[in-house]
Symmetry: C2
Subunit: 222 residues, 2 copies
DNA sequence: TAGATTGTTAATCGATTAACAATC
DNA sequence: TAGATTGTTAATCGATTAACAATC
């Protein structure tokens, strides 16, 4: 079947750097709301959280006139806007691939925003299939993936399998119709262009730290 | 006591972007070595792994003349060099803060390179202190942090506590003398300038995915 | 109206990529 | 020597920051 004609979406016009800052802004605003602040200027926000005021204004301006000149941004209104922009006003249903330590940790993770709900977890190990997480989600065999994705309306897959299995699992995830993947396995993965893949590779981050320790230790020019 | 005079280290001259690519290059070279390839040109490496040849050469050139003109890079020699540059020729001893799902997942994680060894895990929950991970590491109370860091020679801390506790825990970690921190908790953390902090905030990544799903769904200009 | 702060345009900065002289 | 490929300089690109006109 032919891909539907791809319209120009907001996501095409907004850089990845901007997008991830939107999440950060929302978290800052949550704190301000908690503290009872009603209105905030980009300057204040920047000073308070170590950001750049011009960047905040530019990032937000992508999405319309969200502030009021001479006044600033209404905290509650901006929070609502950001939640809507980030798609947090609807619940994204999440499936986890891999019921090892990491997969189970993610399934029980309590730090997810409203807007995300873990609804399924998959593995291939017969010893794991059928078990339940602490939250009461039953581990399914990955051969039930396609059907479960359709039935449960899963939007996002979290890849928590060993690096050696990751590409195969991602291929199955893509085949099941999922269009957004967050990968925790180290190494590069290939996905078709209509699928959005983000990777959080902490092994690379760890080796970056190791580099800093090493060059600190030696502390000399090349 | 006064901080020792800070010399200009390699880390000051090399961008973070370059540093994390070094890890990626090493992984690619591991694959080539596995496949029995002895020598590789930047062009070949780039084509094979979807990288840019000029960037590879520039990144590597920071660390001396690692290749041979007209020939390319000796795979084994470059691997050794990269391991040394990244500090993977010595073992970095790792302590984990937080013995919840994520902390235990990290403690049992099998994907760490040689060069990293998890030697301790800490929590404040009396119900957790004294238990052992599958790998046999005993969970210690965080009030033993300082002493354990000194005794075990811990170089790197992984923060796997809830966001609300993260800043307090990081302060203790810094006070214990650790200079490299990898943070898994969402939100910004403050550390003194001599400490290197990296954060892998998967909640921001997840919200970025949510944004793409949302703008895909709507698919219209602002 | 005067003061404040936005949205936006222009200037700066840094990182990526291309080009090429050096050299194996 | 001729061909290949590096290390490095120059050109391009994009992102960040500064400046300011619009406007509340």
């Amino acid at each position: 079947m032919p891909e539907p004609e791809k319209r120009a979406t907001l996501a095409d016009q907004v850089s990845e750097a901007t997008t991830s800052r939107l999440s950060v802004y929302l978290r800052c605003l949550d704190q301000l709301a908690e503290a009872g602040v009603a209105t905030v200027a980009s300057n204040t926000l920047a000073a308070r959280f170590g950001l750049n005021a011009a960047q905040i204004r530019k990032d937000l301006a992508h999405f319309g006139e969200l502030g009021v000149r001479g006044v600033g941004y209404d905290v509650e209104k901006l929070r609502r806007h950001l939640r809507e922009i980030l798609g947090l006003d609807r619940t994204s249903r999440v499936g986890i691939l891999g019921a090892g330590n990491l997969g189970l940790a993610l399934a029980d993770y309590s730090g997810f925003r409203d807007g995300f709900e873990v609804v399924a977890i998959f593995d291939t190990d017969p010893a794991k299939v059928g078990r339940r997480t602490r939250r009461g989600i039953t581990v399914r065999h990955i051969y039930e993936l396609r059907e479960t994705v359709a039935r449960e309306g899963i939007h996002i897959a979290l890849i928590a399998v060993p690096a050696t299995a990751a590409q195969d699992v991602v291929d199955l995830v893509v085949a099941s119709g999922i269009k957004a993947i967050l990968n925790f396995a180290p190494g590069a993965l290939r996905v078709p262009p209509h699928v959005k893949l983000k990777s959080v590779d902490f092994t690379v981050s760890l080796e970056t730290l190791s580099f800093f320790l090493a060059s600190d230790r030696d502390g000399n020019q090349p």
